[in-house]
Assembly symmetry: C2
Homo-oligomer: 193 residues x 2
DNA sequence: GACACCTTACTGACCAGTAAGTAGAGTCGC
DNA sequence: GCGACTCTACTTACTGGTCAGTAAGGTGTC
């Protein structure tokens, strides 16, 4: 065992986990180090030890998201495009159940108030997610499992944008998310309407 | 002339106008009375005179939006559905040019940090916008100018969600908005692809 | 004794909100 | 046609709370 490494990793990870929940439900600007330290049973300065500036915490949060997302994409690379899309839908349901929105949604909404370092990696993160959505519908079209008008770029982008938007709308009207998911299936020719 | 009424209306309106710009670019939580009073050349307490609590300002902002939206809808009720949709696209372009996002986007993203009174009228506002999007595609389908799979509810909701999402994404990648607009036209059968 | 991982104790900035006072313009009695 | 009153639309001056961030010290482990 490596207790000191474990302790470091442990507290650091707990901070990130709590910050993530807070960011996805309240936004980056609307949570403070107090929210985290209070929940964690440590002092405010303990958070500053691991993440000197709040910007550092924000960047770490996004970078962790990017790594997680890359693993997520790689892990189900061999799945069929329609199945990948359904997994994406399930992920959105998970956010909805926790009354959260997706990271790209909150980050792009708050963009103008974020420190430059965070804007930078947000841009990379969002670009990766959009590229992934495009790739799904491109492969879906190539395999014949999906049929739609327009380009994979157009269709992938609208799927991504609609999912981000509907997750936000679902906070006000729970039916929005299901409605959009079903409509996407129809637009991709994945069901017999 | 009624000078006293003019003065009242004038400052009050200027406050609302500035608050609107600030909310659509930074979010409701990320602007302060200082931002407004500084720009306006008055003291902080002057804003509090017109809007005692920030919540009052927020509610007034949303209610004004609802009235404006109702007029907007009424004013172009006789236009053809495809033309109404194009007007909607133009409106989105206006937001994009100003580096803003749509009110429903910022309000639903920040929802959990908003005072209850604001959540209430946000819900009404978003419901009205969504209903309007549904109505456009419903009438478009009925007139034969739009053809699509699924229900008007599904299609209207996805159009609304996708526009909201793409306006946010467009802050990071300017092509997202145009891509989504074009894809919506295709999905509604409004162009010959 | 060096280092990781905290603590206590603090600073200065900003925030919404309030209380009390004031300038000016309109109104009314006379 | 002039003083007294009133109301609107502010001002100055302040409070208490929250915020990110820092400095210096302590404690346990290798």
């Amino acid at each position: 065992m490596k207790p000191e490494t474990d302790a470091r990793t442990d507290t650091r990870k707990k901070i990130l986990d709590l910050a993530e929940v807070l960011m996805l439900s309240r936004g980056f600007n609307a949570f403070s180090y107090q929210h985290i330290s209070g929940e964690l049973g440590v002092r405010n300065a303990a958070i500053h030890y691991h993440f000197p500036k709040k910007t550092d915490l924000g960047v770490a949060l996004i970078e962790r998201y990017r790594r997680r997302f890359a693993r997520y994409v790689a892990a189900q690379a061999e799945l069929s495009p329609p199945l990948q899309l359904e997994r994406y839908f399930t992920l959105a349901d998970t956010y909805y159940d926790k009354q959260q929105i997706c990271p790209s949604g909150i980050l792009s909404a708050e963009l103008h108030t974020l420190p430059p370092e965070m804007r930078q990696c947000t841009a990379s993160f969002v670009e990766e997610m959009r590229a992934w959505a495009i790739e799904i519908v491109r492969r879906g079209q190539a395999s014949g499992a999906m049929r739609y008008v327009g380009t994979p770029e157009g269709m992938g982008t609208i799927v991504f944008a609609a999912m981000q938007g509907s997750l936000q709308l679902a906070r006000l009207d729970g039916s929005a998310l299901d409605e959009v998911k079903q409509q996407i299936r129809l637009l991709l020719g994945m069901t017999q309407a």
